[in-house]
Symmetry: C2
Subunit: 516 residues, 2 copies
């Protein structure tokens, strides 16, 4: 038994609790004479509709009937007396059911002992009733015919109505799925919506062969799981699933179609782009034809949305690589080979988060930061690679890289590149105003510039350069403390020093070539 799914053993218990009840039809008898109730029920004692028993409800006045209608939305047929509280209490009730309660599903049959009070030709035209009977004409047989007639209509209407509701749910579920903007959020939404569509609350797994991410196992990945099959999609692989589920997935991949098994439903779904998705749902019994149909309809749109999302993730990941690549290309010239660009990005992101920036802003900084030294493309080799100290005029030329990077990027309308432009321009400004190119100080320096300034220096201090060895952590801490409020914003230095180990781990996770 895989510990990830230890709870799985309890599934049978659940199924036993859910005793499948034979659904009944509900009929409401409304009459102020108790005798009518008694005789009606006696006559229909053995009456069954499509093999199902009838549940009888009773109301002895129109007022009482209203209460019953409000408590039971599933009344199939009501036999309505006319004269009760007053001469037209039954007629008023009919009007109330249709117009106030807005119940158009229940079949209403008027059954009157005083047709003089409610003449058939007037009443049938004026009120939205489904039949009109005088008590005298209602022989035992005619009462049964009336029951068949009413219940059949109700059955036909409620079949379509429940289909309509199912489709409505499919549409709502499609919307909820479209709201998610990551693959895992999407898959989680899909599982949740499937439970809504099937109107069950059970265990399920969403597994996909398709993938755009490098980090993914070649044999697919679990996108989402729920109920007793819940597991962490980040770490779980197909082999972590209960063996019975694994076997079913492999069978579906071979058959290339969905199928029912004794304990669940395997849904196989191939997208337009050829990705194969598998859903296992612990259905605790067979799915009805309607449930299967809704599931299929829903999953057509799931497959389409999945393809779109996958394409979108692919593009986003390519973009991320391109930014690193652009940063690397620059670093490669300045011989600062290695993962400096990536580390500055991750360190900046962590600082931004700790600083309290929104997730959106933190992400923008993370994506823009790798380009901080873009302007160095224009700095001659002689200056960039000079092992010794730069002459004043060389140093002046070196400093132009901040403005040049900004100039390269400033015309872009893309938010990420605008952010990168700002970072290029401001990552050598200092909190005390002694930086370049503009000598801005304090909060006049954009927060993205203040953050990348610290991240850049922090990472460089710990790295080997053509002009220096890597510094020890103690020496780094000391210099940062010293530059607190001078080179760097005090709050940022505090955040870094208070979480020093976390930041150091980022360095260790992405070492430069030649370091371990």
């Amino acid at each position: 038994m895989n510990p990830l799914f230890a709870k799985q053993a309890n599934t049978t218990q659940n199924t036993e609790e859910q005793q499948v009840e034979q659904p009944e039809y509900t009929v409401l008898i409304i009459d102020d004479e108790a005798e009518v109730h008694r005789v009606t029920e006696l006559t229909l004692k053995r009456f069954r509709f499509e093999g199902k028993k009838i549940q009888y409800l009773h109301a002895y006045s129109a007022a009482e009937a209203k209460e019953v209608f409000q408590q039971h939305s599933d009344i199939a047929l009501a036999l309505v007396d006319v004269v009760m509280e007053n001469d037209h209490a039954g007629l008023d009730l009919v009007h109330w059911v249709r117009k106030e309660l807005n119940n158009n599903l229940c079949r209403l049959v008027l059954r009157t002992g005083q047709p003089g009070q409610a003449p058939e030709h007037e009443v049938i035209e004026k009120y939205d009733i489904n039949d009109y009977k005088e008590k005298t004409e209602l022989t035992s047989q005619k009462l049964k015919t009336l029951m068949y007639s009413g219940l059949r209509s109700y059955r036909d209407i409620s079949t379509i109505e429940s289909h309509r509701k199912g489709l409505r749910q499919v549409i709502e579920s499609t919307g909820n799925m479209l709201r998610s903007n990551s693959l895992n959020a999407f898959a989680t939404a899909v599982l949740k919506e499937i439970m809504n569509i099937l109107q069950i609350d059970s265990s399920a797994i969403y597994w996909s062969t398709g993938s755009s991410s490098d980090a993914i196992r070649s044999n697919g990945r679990i996108l989402a799981s729920t109920g007793q099959l819940s597991t962490d999609p980040e770490i779980a692989a197909l082999s972590d699933l209960p063996e019975s589920v694994q076997a079913k997935f492999l069978k579906a991949l071979t058959l290339k179609r969905s199928f029912h098994s004794e304990d669940g439903f395997i849904f196989y779904l191939q997208t337009d782009k050829g990705n194969e998705n598998l859903l296992y749902i612990d259905t605790q019994g067979d799915l009805t034809q309607g449930q299967q149909e809704f599931l299929e309809i829903y999953c057509i749109n799931v497959a389409l949305a999945y393809d779109n999302l996958l394409m979108s993730e692919e593009v986003i990941e390519t973009q991320r690589e391109l930014v690193y690549l652009l940063g690397d290309a620059v670093e490669m010239r300045s011989k600062e080979t290695g993962a400096h660009v990536k580390r500055v990005s991750l360190i900046s992101y962590k600082l931004a988060e700790l600083y309290g920036l929104s997730e959106h802003d933190a992400l923008m900084i993370k994506r823009g930061a790798p380009l901080h030294d873009l302007g160095k493309v224009a700095i001659p080799d002689g200056i960039l690679h000079k092992p010794g100290k730069l002459e004043p005029e060389e140093w002046d030329q070196m400093k132009t890289h901040a403005q040049i990077g900004y100039e390269i990027l400033r015309n872009s309308k893309k938010p990420i590149l605008q952010m990168a432009a700002e970072i290029c321009r401001t990552h050598h400004e200092r909190w005390d105003g002694a930086g370049y190119p503009n000598g801005t100080a304090g909060e006049d320096i954009p927060i993205a510039g203040r953050i990348t300034a610290l991240a850049d220096v922090f990472d460089a201090l710990g790295s080997r350069r053509c002009y220096k060895e890597p510094w020890s952590t103690d020496r780094i801490k000391a210099i940062l403390e010293e530059e607190r409020g001078k080179h760097f914003e005090p709050k940022l230095v505090d955040l870094l020093l208070n979480n020093f180990d976390d930041f150091w781990k980022i360095r260790e996770a992405f070492p430069d070539a030649g370091e371990e």
Copy 2:
């Protein structure tokens, strides 16, 4: 009158043609006695249901009734005689309608003159009929009551059924919309699907304020148009629309809600991300409540899909800019400032299309080509910027840029970057095998390399370089002809020379700085 919409003037003609007919209910009388038909219709002569006339159809045998049923899917109620061709012809007919024809909407009322042949208690239970009447009990009033009863049931069922169908259409339309992967294809699909949902064929416009593209007017853009409002979304602006439509759009933007006007429906839709979408539909009359509801339900998902697509386009455009930027950063060092990178990309794309590559492959080449000289980041300034001829050992170092570019990119799993790696490695190979780094020849050189090799040289010949002036078109044509089958694949040279003006236009559209 704006010439783009000259046809608009004819709209009224259309509306006159479409005479709105009062819908009727259809009732089928099935009886082998002509007299029964005559009396039934006479009795119901003035009968109306909800103010609507009844259309009566007649069948004088079960066989004839089957034909009528097959021709008319909208029969609300059928009065069915039992004894016709044989003792149970009417009963067999009922069975056929429900089980063979699968018509569960039509209300079937048995009307028999010989109840002995079809006893009520048996028949009502066994056959899926909606009522059982002996001809003798059917007084004029009882016949009318029967009509009310049957038509009301049919109305209730068909109302839900048409709602169900509408929702089904919404789901299908959602799927069709999710299949489109560009904004314009998406908007076109949305308009088409709206016509399907409303079951009309008319003129419509989809306009959006939201945008991710640089090329878009600040006041929004037309995403799609159809019918008499058809226009080219690439060139049309809001001000090109008929004034009446413009006025309605502005009103909807002010009210921030949908509204009906005398000649159409304006649908206002604000997405979760704040983009405002407007649809104008020439509805040729009022929309029913159902139509409006379906439209609203559909458009919720339209808005969600729109946001997703917009985000995706934004990312794709950022990616494109990044690739150019990376290429530019390299070019900037080698002083080949200007649009060389962009032109090589566009020229390669056009060559790939003419060569007969798939759109997908052509796009991959287009996106990878800007990085062809990526490896030059590692070439020292002294070699890269040398105005004169390179010494043999300098030239050897220069040539390493092909392999270096490949090395930088080869580890990426992203298709675009894999393509770029291949282009880096092979864009200096020659058709005759005398190129570098590997000296591959002919079709052993990947097509992407053969294409970018030609595009790169063609563009360089027409440009100013530190070591040369731009060449004339005649001289370029001559050298390409000379290198046909030597440096370049003959087929590619032919394609370029046969379409020389088109390729030259790409050069002119993106000139280098300092050229006009």
